[in-house]
């Protein structure tokens, strides 16, 4: 069997763009989360809503920061 070259799962040239996009989405959701935390009163705050926002924001921020590391040359 001939040896086939292995490339990265996502083209290296895409990392900067991806990091900007995912971090932007992540930060918007984070902003929503904190606004919700600050404005809703203690009694009628919904845990489900908070957890959902936290989960989605952390997925975007997690991938965003990974792509940021890769784009800046820190190959983890």
């Amino acid at each position: 069997m001939a040896a086939t070259p292995i490339a990265s799962p996502i083209p290296v040239a895409m990392y900067p763009t991806l990091s900007v996009v995912t971090l932007a989405i992540g930060l918007v959701i984070t902003a929503f989360f904190f606004i919700y935390e600050a404005t809703s009163s203690r009694k009628n705050r919904s845990l489900g809503k908070e957890l959902a926002a936290a989960a989605v924001a952390s997925v975007f921020l997690g991938f965003g920061s990974l792509f940021l590391l890769l784009a800046s040359g820190v190959y983890v």
């Binding site: 292995i6 490339a7 990265s8 799962p9 290296v12 809703s40 203690r42 936290a54 997925v59 991938f63």
Partner: protein, 615 residues
């Protein structure tokens, strides 16, 4: 020259004694030996073409290669291949296996290497062997100490006759020097100088272990750059990069500098001095190398130049100072390489195919340590190298690691550029492991959010019974109730809008039944909402701190109720009008006054909602 000749004399004596004690080797005869020694760099590169004939009666499968001990001790690289044909039609065939063999009873002043022949050589057969050997440290600086003004002279010791355990029928030697400036050379019969080349021979019918010492003393401008220790770290990231970091401990191994160094004389334009020093080093990096850096403990070193094309990347680096004999420097270079150029998949395994030695040209490495850092989660690691290296395994902790990355450490002493052959590191790796890094980051962020959630829910007050604390608790409840009231009012207003929409639908389609159904559902919905509103209002009134707000809220509820009634009345009027089949204008006239009130009420309700919003 006195000193060298005495050394050589001693050697000759030793050899002469040893020759007598040598056991008889097989009946091989070397019908023709051509030796070429290239000393244009600091490495003595010897190539030999040996024509072997079996003159005995038994077939032979082993061939013994010999070097004088002082050369053999400095042997860095040795390959033996056999060839067919002559001149341009010459073809090199497979490399033969060579191992050091020191048989009992053989002289100590000779190094023996045993070569296994591709097939046993039977009686009368001939075979041509090509030997390539590289020696380090055999060019001795002489004098050993020079000043900045002096030229760099080195000395090479060899034998004009080929040292061999076999009889040699014809032998010639040529030594290629860097330039024509030759201080002295041993003159024997049949020796001559042609430009920068010295030729000895041909010599005919030499006995076993013939030895004719020669010494060549000449000028060398080559950089005697030796890396005392070189650590190459090759880090593989499956996210698309192979990062190479090389730490050099470099020394100039030529004649040592005597006296002091004068920068002024060194940079004197018409007659620059210090030819024995070198100021540049050239590294030939693989193509598409990127993110190249060159630094030391102080920081970035800005004196480097880079040129790249599709075949190679050339990095010319200049240390912080010119290196004279005995001077040392330390620096680090690093570069990234695209993953797909070096990492391959084959038969379910992945392998890294990368050059072993330093990319520096004509650099001798005394101790080379290659650390191949594989991604976390790599298994079944194995290494194939074209030559022997010392192998060990380590664990390295780097960014976002839990279990650490497996590291293959390869060590080899006395490495010359001939060792720049590719090594293969095989391992198994699943792409699922790639997800561990983002998952770790995601978990980190999620923990942060969870902390915030817990923080906003936690009660950090020390005194649970103080008036201020109780007032705060109550105020929280007031706010919560207010928010619920607001939500219900919003729902009511939405229901109103729905009702209006049903009226508009009616005027468009004339479908009274649908409109009535909408009215019915809205009616019951609004009733439910007002039921929900009642306990909230009651609780709001019970809070003393809400005394300022509750009248406003009550007003809001009352206005909303009024609005509701007016809207219902309007709805009834319109529907009745349609049932009686009154004209559109008639209906409009009838509801005109109601409509005005509705608009006014809606305005008031909106104002109140806004007021409550601001609390």
């Amino acid at each position: 020259m006195k000193k060298t000749s005495s050394v050589v004399d001693l050697l000759l004596l030793l050899l002469a004694i040893n020759v007598l004690a040598t056991p008889a080797f097989s009946d091989l005869v070397l019908s023709k030996v051509e030796r070429r020694i290239d000393v244009t760099s600091q490495i003595a590169r010897v190539t030999k073409t040996l024509k072997v004939v079996n003159s005995g009666s038994e077939s032979v499968s082993e061939f013994t290669l010999t070097f004088p001990k002082f050369l053999g001790n400095n042997l860095a690289y040795l390959t033996v291949s056999h060839s067919e044909g002559k001149g341009k039609a010459k073809r090199f065939l497979a490399n033969l296996s060579v191992k050091e063999a020191h048989a009992k009873g053989t002289p100590d002043s000779i190094s023996f290497y045993s070569v296994s022949l591709p097939k046993p050589l039977s009686k009368g057969d001939t075979l041509t062997l090509e030997v390539v050997a590289a020696f380090t440290n055999v060019l001795q600086p002489f004098p050993e100490k020079i000043t900045q003004r002096d030229i760099h002279l080195v000395m090479l010791q060899e034998s004009a006759q080929y040292l061999s355990p076999y009889v040699v029928e014809s032998q010639s030697l040529s030594i290629k020097l860097p330039n024509a400036r030759i201080e002295s050379y041993t003159k024997l019969e049949n020796s001559k100088v042609q430009g920068s080349e010295i030729k000895y021979g041909p010599y005919k019918n030499l006995a076993q272990y013939s030895y004719a010492p020669i010494v060549v003393h000449f000028e060398s401008k080559a950089a005697f750059a030796v890396a005392e220790k070189l650590v190459r770290e090759i880090e593989v990231s499956h996210w698309g990069n192979v990062q190479v970091t090389e730490h050099y401990n470099l020394v100039h191994r030529g004649a040592q500098l005597k006296g002091e160094f004068s920068r002024l004389e060194y940079q004197d334009r018409p007659n620059p001095q210090g030819v024995s020093a070198f100021r540049h080093l050239l590294a030939r990096l693989p193509p598409r190398a990127h993110s190249i850096y060159y630094r030391d403990d102080i920081g970035n070193i800005s004196t480097s130049q880079m040129q790249s094309d599709s075949k190679k990347t050339e990095l010319l680096i200049e240390p912080r100072f010119p290196l004279f004999g005995g001077w040392k420097t330390f620096f680090t270079i690093g570069y990234g390489l695209p993953l797909s150029d070096f990492l391959f998949a084959s038969e379910g395994k992945r392998f890294l195919d990368i050059s072993f030695g330093s990319p520096m040209i004509d650099l001798v490495t005394e101790k080379l340590i290659v650390q191949v850092v594989l991604p976390e989660g790599s298994k079944d690691i194995s290494v194939t190298t074209p030559f022997d290296v010392k192998q060990s395994h380590e664990i390295k902790y780097s960014h976002l690691d839990i279990a650490g990355r497996p590291v293959v450490v390869l060590e080899k002493n006395n490495v010359v550029p001939d060792h720049n052959q590719n090594i293969q590191v095989y391992y198994k790796f699943s792409n699922i492991n790639l997800l561990s890094e983002p998952l770790m980051l995601i978990t980190g962020f999620f923990v942060l959010f969870i902390t915030c959630i817990i923080y906003t829910r936690a009660d950090f007050s020390i005194s649970k019974s103080s008036a201020a604390y109780l007032a705060k608790l109550q105020w929280d409840e007031v706010l919560a109730t207010l928010q619920e009231v607001q939500n219900i009012i919003q729902k009511c207003l939405a229901a109103h809008d729905k009702l209006e929409a049903s009226l508009r639908d009616l005027s468009r389609t004339g479908d009274i039944q649908t409109c009535k159904a909408a009215r019915k559902s809205t009616d019951s919905f609004l009733k439910d909402l007002s039921k929900e509103l009642r306990p909230l209002l009651a609780s709001l009134q019970s809070f003393p701190s809400a005394s300022q707000i509750s009248p406003k809220v009550e007003e809001l509820v009352a206005k909303e109720k009024e609005l509701q009634e007016k809207l219902m009345a309007k709805h009834t009027t319109v529907v009745e009008g349609y049932e009686k089949k009154s004209s559109g204008r008639d209906i409009e006239n009838r509801i005109a006054s109601q409509q005005q009130k509705i608009v006014a009420l809606r305005q008031e309700v909106d104002d109140l909602v806004e007021f409550i919003d601001e609390i």
